[in-house]
Structures are given as C-alpha cells and as structure tokens.
C-alpha cells in the first residue's frame, strides 16, 4: 500500500484533528495529547457525518452529530449511537510530515 504525504505535523493542533481527502476517500488525521499522530476513516460509521468538526478528548473523537465516540487509535466504537468501529490507517512521521498508508 502506498504511503501518502498528507500534511505537516504543524497543521494539526495537539488534541485535535483535521480532514484530509485523497482520491475518492476522506480521512480524519489526529494529533494526540502525547504528540502522536493517527488516521481513521473520515466519516462517522453511524450516519456518514464527517468527524472533522468533532471534539478530540484524550484518545476519543466525539462525532459532531449525535455525540457518538470512537477511540481514534483503534477505531473502536465507544459510545452510543455508534456501534460499528471506524477503519484505521497506519501513520508515520518523517521530517515533520505526516504520512498515511492508504488502502
């Protein structure tokens, strides 16, 4: 799978996320409070709402529509109304750039 240069590490505040679109796919890229980066599918598994307007709290992303929550490190659905896990994508950081391995 190709590693794609998605953004700079400075593009995302700590404990926040951004939207990143690549081809026909849309992703959410997260900057954790520990300074690590993660990527998940961009749309909530409940109703296709983009997570980019959501709230990052620690390792959770809360969806802006119905407050469903996922652990963005594993994609695990943590709080109703979400029950289907999010797809996660490997991430690496090189020279201040965030790379996502897209499937």
């Amino acid at each position: 799978m190709p590693w794609i240069d998605a953004c700079s590490t400075d593009d995302i505040d700590e404990e926040d996320l951004i939207r990143w679109d690549h081809g026909a796919q849309t992703f959410a890229i997260y900057h954790s409070p520990e300074g690590e980066f993660f990527a998940t599918a961009g749309l909530c598994s409940h109703e296709n709402v983009h997570l980019c307007d959501g709230l990052v709290m620690g390792h959770l992303i809360e969806c802006p529509k119905h407050n469903g929550q996922f652990d963005y490190r594993t994609g695990e659905a943590m709080r109703a109304p979400v029950c289907v896990n999010l797809k996660v994508f490997p991430v690496k950081v090189e020279a201040g750039r965030v790379f996502v391995e897209v499937a």
Partner: protein
C-alpha cells in the same frame, strides 16, 4: 392542503427518504474552529453544582411534604418537588443523553438513568430516538419526537400539561418492553444489539413501580405515589410548556434549524429547570456544545439567527395562535424573518414545503 402521515412506516417516511431529505446536509452557521473547540470543552463543575442543588432540593421538598402530609400545608412543597421530578428530569435526561452535561462519562450515565426513570422513558430506547430527532428534526414520518403533530390535537396538548397522555402511553409500552423487548416501531431505530437492554430496563422499572404500588396499597395511602410516579403528572407542566416552544408552530420538512426551532429568553429558574435548552436553535445546530456554554454560543451566532423571543409569554403569544390555525390548515407555519446580518434561508432546499416559497400561499 396536505395530510401528514407521522407513522414511521408511512407514506411521508418513504417520501422523506426518496426525496433525499433524510440524507441532506443541514445548514449551520460558520464558527471558527478555535472558538467552537472552546465552546465544546467539557467540564464537570457546572453539572455537579446543578445536580447537588437539584437532588438536594428534591430531598428537602419531599421531606417537608412527607412531614406535613396529609395537611394542605404540604401542597406547595409537593408542587416544588413535582416540577423538579416531572420537568427538570426531562432536561437532565436530554443533556446527559447527549453526554455533554458532565465531562466524566459515568456521571452522565448515572444522571441519565435516574432522569429517564423519573421522566418515564425507557433509557435504552430513548437514547436512539433522540439521535433520530437530531438527524431528522421535524421531518414528518422520520422524527419520533414530534411534540405537535399537525393538525394539532389541542385537547391532548393541554392534557399533557398534566402528563396524562404520556403516562397513559408509557405503561403499556413499558410492560411490553419488560415482556418482549422493543415494540415494532422502536425496532426501526434501536439497533438489535440493544434490544436486550430495552427489556432489562423495562423489567427494572416495572419492579420499582410494583413495589411503590404495593406500599401504597398496604399502607392505605397515596404517599408513596406522591414521591414516585405521580410527580411525573403534577410536575409535568413546566417541561411541556418549554417543550412545546422548541418547535411548535414552526416549519417541518426543512433542513435549517432556524426554520424549525425556537430560541426563547427565559427567567433564571426556568433556565435551571430546563438547563438552558431555551437556546434551542443553538443546541440543534451544535449539539456538542454543553448546556452551560449555550449562552456563549448564542452570543457568537445570534446575528445569523432569527431574533429570539424575549420571554416565555411572548413566545406563547407567537406560537399558540399558529397552533390553533394549524387545526384548520395543517400547512400553516410561522416563518421568522432573519436579520440583515444572517445568511438567507436556502429556498432551493425547501421548494416542496407548502408556503415556504411564498409565505401566505399555504393559508
């Protein structure tokens, strides 16, 4: 004049899906990300303070009511207890259901369960119905929480100020939940993974009401029911009053909360009971903002919203005549003007809403 079908399996439900209404993106005011992050930030403090005041007052009022029972001197204390039990529990159920009241999840969950019991809603069912209310607010046949269906049945609305219709509906539903899990309609929005939970909650609630009833019968007194159950009726008026104002008399089948929701300035006691849900356009547009930050959100976006009603009385004076007109003409609704600073309503989104393009045509 169209005839609305509110059934979750009916023609309007089908039409909402086929027309793309259910999948449409709702309007929301642009708010800079940093400002929004600050508004969304969670905190335990305001909700802990309010919860101590709420439950402390309930214990105090019920205690005095019991001590003075059966004298009429106990009545004002029951009325105060009742409004906290039968109305404040509605807003606690709502805000904790969103998970925004407290920062700590177990606190949200506990208050949610207690409030669900008091307001007589199965906690495992209503979490899901409220999600639908937010995705598809006042879309006919899709939103299971439409308080004023058109044409409005005014007598039923008035009876509900005493919780009568809600309570009559609640118990058969609860018994059905306890015996066999969710009803057919509930199964349209509760995922199968939670059907067992719906039944479990049903059994627990039936057990609590049965014990209360047995106590009342064996003591030969309604006092146990004054504490558990009846306050959902004699204290319901406040949440019905504020609940009607949320969307009553406004548009349905639109995808802009400025057209179907109402913000009303209220006195501090009502705001405590209602937990700031008087900022209802703001809440629907940004459900992640906790109740304690809604006044701040209002300041940020108010120039993009219709002017709020200045009081409960003024809001009723606007809404009640509209509800009465809807009795004869169910397509009638109030379309509020936007200030010049606001982005206009997207008429192209709402062409199929009777009266939307040319207000007055619907009459």
């Amino acid at each position: 004049m169209s005839k609305r079908d509110y059934s979750l399996f009916g023609a309007d439900a089908k039409r909402a899906v086929e027309s793309g209404l259910t999948a449409a993106e709702w309007y929301h005011t642009e708010v800079p990300r940093k400002v929004m992050k600050d508004l969304m930030a969670r905190s335990d403090r305001p909700a802990i303070r309010d919860t101590i005041i709420l439950y402390g007052s309930m214990i105090l009022f019920a205690g005095i009511g019991i001590a003075l029972w059966p004298s009429w001197w106990s009545a004002p204390f029951w009325l105060a207890y009742g409004v906290l039990y039968g109305s404040a529990s509605d807003s606690r159920w709502h805000e904790c259901g969103h998970g925004t009241a407290f920062k700590t999840p177990w606190m949200n969950n506990w208050v949610y369960e207690i409030a669900s019991f008091m307001i007589m809603r199965n906690s495992a069912t209503w979490r899901w119905s409220h999600a639908r209310h937010h995705s598809e607010t006042y879309l006919v046949g899709r939103d299971p929480e439409i308080a004023v269906m058109r044409p409005p049945e005014v007598a039923k609305l008035i009876l509900n100020f005493f919780g009568i219709i809600d309570v009559i509906k609640f118990f058969p539903n609860l018994i059905q939940n306890a015996l066999s899990g969710p009803t057919a309609a509930e199964k349209t929005f509760v995922p199968q993974s939670d059907w067992g939970k719906v039944q479990k909650v049903g059994i627990i609630c039936v057990a609590i009401y049965a014990v209360t009833l047995i106590a009342a019968i064996s003591w030969g007194s309604i006092l146990p029911l004054m504490v558990i159950g009846l306050p959902r009726m004699y204290g319901a008026w406040h949440h019905v009053m504020t609940g009607l104002l949320q969307h009553g008399g406004l548009a349905d089948n639109v995808i802009d909360h400025r057209l179907n929701s109402r913000t009303v300035y209220m006195n501090p006691i009502s705001r405590f009971i209602y937990w700031n849900m008087n900022y209802h356009v703001e809440h629907h547009m940004f459900p992640m903002v906790p109740y304690h930050a809604l006044p701040r959100l209002h300041e940020v976006i108010k120039d993009d919203l219709p002017p709020p009603n200045r009081s409960i009385g003024e809001a009723f004076a606007e809404m009640w005549p509209a509800i009465k007109r809807q009795v004869l003409n169910e397509d009638y609704f109030i379309r509020r003007d936007l200030p010049p600073t606001a982005k206009p309503y997207r008429e192209d989104f709402h062409q199929y809403v009777p009266g939307m393009m040319h207000p007055g045509d619907a009459e």
